[in-house]
């Protein structure tokens, strides 16, 4: 646990940003991860008084305040309708309800943790982060940036027509994932995001307009053939490593299995949407 000399519940984002420029200060989200370290902090900066703990849904997008909890994501009807329940699936295995009532979207995304389920999921979506000074940038760009001292204000998800699915493998329930995979198809492109590689989540895109439209029941399950192709492509192009949860070789096998399952599920969800 960290120690601190001062706790400041800021009244403006400018105040938070100013305070956050000092290396001795610490900006906290849910603080579930930072409490695991040992640091002597001057001022703890808390954003919970800025009304950034809501999900706003408009015609075009979801605007998720940085202090929104993972539990709010899990229970949000609009988000789950839009993602075929994939958002719920991506967070419901994280420890327990009490934990998810504390952990925040801002903390999870800004931290760009390798183990992050939610970062893996968001990366497969048409998503952006709104930074106080840095403006609005695609999440895929943000995820590869090194950490700076800006303040993440919101995560924005555009409601681009899409189909989604999320899969993860864990050595035991409630543990960090050994591998996480989110798959989506929008703008005629498959987006395959793989997390817990164990490095931070990585996005692979494959342009393939044919899959969802050329369905011939006479042939041998073309969607399965395509899912197999995508999963093998992902296993080949996404780098994985070894840690105590699994070896690189095991993770490569997991990519094949999870990405294939996710592609098939996303495909089924698409058909369901078209028929409803």
């Amino acid at each position: 646990m960290f120690t601190c000399k001062e706790y400041r519940k800021v009244e403006t984002l400018e105040e938070a940003w100013q305070l956050n420029q000092k290396k001795s200060n610490l900006l906290i989200g849910g603080m579930l991860w930072v409490k695991m370290g040992h640091r002597n902090v001057r001022t703890v900066i808390d954003l919970s008084g800025l009304g950034l703990n809501e999900i706003e849904e408009t015609e075009q997008e979801f605007r998720i305040g940085c202090m929104t909890t993972l539990r709010q994501l899990e229970q949000h009807e609009g988000l789950n309708r839009y993602t075929n329940g994939a958002i719920r699936e991506s967070v419901c295995h994280i420890v327990g309800v009490q934990f998810r009532n504390g952990a925040t979207v801002g903390g999870s995304v800004f931290g760009r943790f390798g183990f992050s389920d939610i970062l893996t999921m968001l990366l497969a979506m048409d998503s952006y982060v709104e930074l106080y000074k840095g403006g609005c940038i695609p999440l895929n760009e943000f995820v590869n940036r090194s950490r700076d001292r800006d303040v993440l204000v919101r995560v924005i998800i555009r409601k681009t027509p899409a189909t989604f699915a999320y899969q993860s493998a864990r050595n035991t329930r409630t543990d960090f994932p050994t591998l996480a995979a989110a798959v989506s198809c929008y703008n005629d492109t498959w987006h395959i995001s793989v997390g817990a590689r164990p490095g931070r989540a990585m996005l692979l895109t494959v342009k393939e307009p044919a899959l969802l439209h050329e369905r011939n029941p006479e042939t041998i399950k073309p969607e399965e053939r395509f899912a197999k192709y995508l999963s093998e492509y992902a296993a080949e192009h996404i780098s994985v490593g070894t840690n105590l949860r699994g070896s690189a070789a095991y993770r490569r096998q997991l990519i094949k299995v999870l990405v294939k399952r996710a592609c098939l599920e996303a495909d089924r969800n698409q058909i369901r949407k078209q028929n409803s």
């Binding site: 001062e6 603080m31 420890v95 327990g96 009532n101 329930r173």
Partner: protein, 155 residues
Amino acid sequence: MQLTLHLNGIPICEEIAPDTLLLDFLRAHGCKSVKRGCETSNCGLCTVFLDGRPILSCSFLAARADGHAVTTLEGLQEEAKEFTAFIADQGAEQCGFCNPGFVMNALALFRENSDPDETEIKEYLAGNLCRCSGYEGQLRGIKNFLEWKKRGGAS
């Protein structure tokens, strides 16, 4: 810094160190049901309600509870009585160390969902670890409790 909150319905206003964890604050105020089990935000033993929602008090600054209502098992004696007596009669637990956190989260589950199925029970209580029962006894106890309640309970 000054902290003002309602603890089990009682208003409290006092000076605290800014890095005081809610768990330590609560124990210092006699709420000994709130325990530190794992120190890694995983075991659920420190579960309390913040404005009615279950949270982990071991990972929550007391300062953040300023202006809010905190409820511990000490403040839920009436609500918990029926459930805990039933679970004890079922012999669902062994050492009982995890019991306060488990009871708090089970009550949170019943408040949110009065008729959960097995998957929903398991999912909701996944963050409450028990190192001796293997969860089977507790799951059976909860299912029997819900059945008993459906049949009218004690009334």
